[in-house]
Amino acid sequence: MRIAFLSDIHGNREALDACLAHAARVGVDRYVFLGDLVGYGADPVYVVDKVAEMADEGALVLLGNHDAAAVSGEIGGMNQYAGEAIRWTHQELDDAQLEFLSRLKSSATEDDRLYVHSEATAPNAWHYVTNAAEAERSLRATDKRLTFCGHVHRPQLYHMTAMKPAVYFKPPPGQPIPLVGNRKWLAVQGAVGQPRDENPAAAWGLFDTDKGEFTYMRVPYDIETAAGKIHAARLPQILAARLYIGR
């Protein structure tokens, strides 16, 4: 089975469509959305409708911190720009769309795999995995061999054996990586809709369960249009500008 992982779409319609078209071209059997469908971007309505439609057809959809905030309207510890975008997103979504988001779960398991937006120790506390120590905490908190998460907007791969600390690997795009062996793996997805690894291309991940291979995909998309809509919606300008530089 070939599973597509899409994380951190953040209301970016152009990036989502580009990733879905690419996934369809390379061939995918199942879609897993790892949360943060909305926030930052100017197309939350389109994105929620599209993902809800795919959920009806069998896609698995998980909750992210921006989705939870968009439902409640509470911005908690978010920065000013994220908070502004959440308040705007909350207004844009109708009751059915908010209801869809409110029903999402924050983690799920399937065979030897854990899916979660943030990490495994406390999926609703929205901790970030940005280094080997944080990856190790997450890996020790699950008995599943493979963890797939998002939240950080930067593609990262960690692996760990039972007796040793976790080790970081910077995954090259497009290279199938065998998640094999006598060890656990944690694959942090890049963001579909707001990459922050200085590569502005939209990111998604493909896991082939038969081959045991994971591939970090990158897809160019129409940034001008996505950024233009952010300006038109009078959302903070920085949310448009950062799309061009991937930061």
């Binding site: 692996h159 040793k164 080790v167 065998p178 094999v180």
Partner: protein, 482 residues
């Protein structure tokens, strides 16, 4: 981990277990068969004792990652890999041939044999490095010579795939490798330099040529580090019949600083295939090891290197290409060959470490193929060689940066393609004449080279009708070897 007792006659995942070929500390090898697989195959099963030795497990994991991603005649074909969830194993081709370890018994070998073996192993390294893998454990027992003649590597347990996570890098504090063969940078925990394999091949050539290991059999990590600063006894001191060119090649492979070694296996293979073209340096004639003061200086340099290990990954396999200029020296081609030279200068100017091979074909009569190499024939050949060097003179090349070859052949294009293939050329630059009725009738040399060369081909043309001498170029398809 559920483990199953394997024995002759039992089956595992459809593989019928045959004779036990080898039982070692790291792995057991079984001959196996399965319907539908018509080549001889073996199953490699890691030896996992109760203590679960991490080296064995991680080495096996690396091999599970790397072997299925390799292809070609220089590695065993991978048939199946089974993960640790059940009984881990790798089923691969049983290479029919002999281990180079056996050949070591015959050492010292005559220089030509050493060069022949070295060239075969270097050619195998070209293929491995092109697949983004550094072997990191090149030694006679890990090299099989196939009955068909090619060298093939076995055992990728210490290898590194440069696009995949290195499971060994963070795992162990001790240098990973085999004492006599390990490169200085591996001693310093850098596992991502293709030139490490060139160093180990140098040790192997030294051993085959002299029957002596350049740094003996080091038993401690202190002894391992000696190769960072102590130069080996020059091979010619041990065996005066070793020609200077072979000592040049061996000592260049054994330079402690990787930037002083051959930058690529292709350049090493090139030298071993063209001994007459090797530029000899002080290395070729050295008869003594370095004296006290130079050794002391090197030792201090090595100590600095040890406290600041070089960042890995600086060397890519695409570096230092071999570029071939196919030069047409016939009358009336002066402007076109000047345009070719301009294009060659551009390539040399934009790419560091280029090795240039200037090639001209001396056409032979198809009918009188075997005419004797008489005085007149040799004169023509020499004159062409002089003209070829004269063509290259304006490029102001450093000595040793270019080699010159006059090929004698009936079919010009076929000879050029054959040279490019045999010498693992990365790019061919060739002129195309303006369109003419003759070319339309007989076909052009350049278009045949474009179609058949195993690498990038750049075709240099003169603008039609224009008076400028600037070349227009087109990059033809880059066909990479598989």
């Amino acid at each position: 981990m559920a483990r199953q007792q394997l024995q002759t006659g039992s089956t595992l995942d459809g593989f019928l277990i045959g004779e036990k070929l080898h039982a070692g500390g790291m792995a057991t090898l079984w001959r196996v068969t399965r319907p539908g697989i018509d080549i001889p195959i073996v199953m490699k099963v890691p030896t996992i004792l109760d203590g679960d030795d991490a080296t064995i497990i991680v080495g096996f994991e690396m091999e599970m990652m790397i072997l299925p991603r390799l292809s070609g005649v220089h590695v065993p074909r991978c048939i199946a890999v089974k993960d640790f969830a059940q009984q881990p194993y790798i089923v691969m081709e049983y290479i029919q041939g002999h281990s180079l370890l056996k050949t070591l018994d015959e050492a010292p070998l005559p220089p030509d044999r050493v060069a022949e073996i070295g060239a075969k192993v270097a050619v195998a390294l070209i293929d491995l490095h092109r697949q983004n893998v550094v072997h990191l454990d090149i030694k006679p027992s890990n090299i099989m010579m196939r009955d068909t003649g090619e060298a093939a590597f076995i055992d990728f347990g210490l290898s590194r795939h440069l696009s995949l996570p290195d499971l060994l890098e963070e795992e162990f504090r001790v240098p990973m490798g085999t004492g006599p063969y390990i490169s200085p940078e591996q001693v310093l925990h850098n596992r991502s330099d293709v030139r490490s394999d060139i160093f180990s091949l140098g040790v192997l050539l030294y051993h085959f040529a002299t029957r002596v290991r350049p740094w003996g059999l080091p038993k401690s990590s202190r002894a391992l580090r000696r190769r960072l600063w102590r130069d080996p006894v020059p091979p010619r001191k041990l065996r005066p019949d070793i020609p200077p060119w072979l000592q040049e090649v061996i000592l260049r492979c054994l330079e402690p600083d990787p930037t002083l070694r051959y930058p690529t296996a292709a350049q090493l293979a090139f030298d071993l295939q063209h001994p007459d073209e090797i530029r000899l340096t002080e290395r070729a004639t050295r008869m003594e090891r370095a004296g006290f003061l130079p050794t002391l200086r090197r030792r201090m340099k090595a100590a600095a290197l040890e406290s600041h290990p070089r960042e890995p990954g600086e060397q890519s396999t695409a570096a230092a290409p071999i570029v071939m200029a196919a030069v047409d020296l016939s009358e009336g081609m002066e402007r076109l060959s000047a345009a070719l030279r301009l294009e060659v200068a551009r390539v040399l100017g934009s790419t560091p470490g280029v090795r240039l091979a200037c090639v001209n074909v001396l056409r032979q009569n198809r009918i009188a193929m075997n005419y004797p190499r008489d005085e007149e024939g040799r004169n023509i050949h020499m004159r062409r060689l002089v003209e070829l060097k004269e063509w290259a003179r304006p490029l102001k090349l450093d000595q040793g940066a270019a080699t010159f070859h006059v090929l004698e052949a009936a079919d010009t294009a076929a000879a050029l393609v054959e040279f490019a293939t045999a010498n693992h050329v990365d790019q061919v630059l060739i002129c195309a004449r303006a369109s003419s009725n003759l070319r339309r009738f007989v076909g052009s040399v350049s278009s045949q080279v474009v179609a058949e060369a195993p690498c990038t081909v750049t075709v240099v043309r003169l603008p039609q009708g224009g008076e400028t001498s600037a070349a227009t170029t087109e990059i033809a398809a880059a066909i990479t070897r598989t």
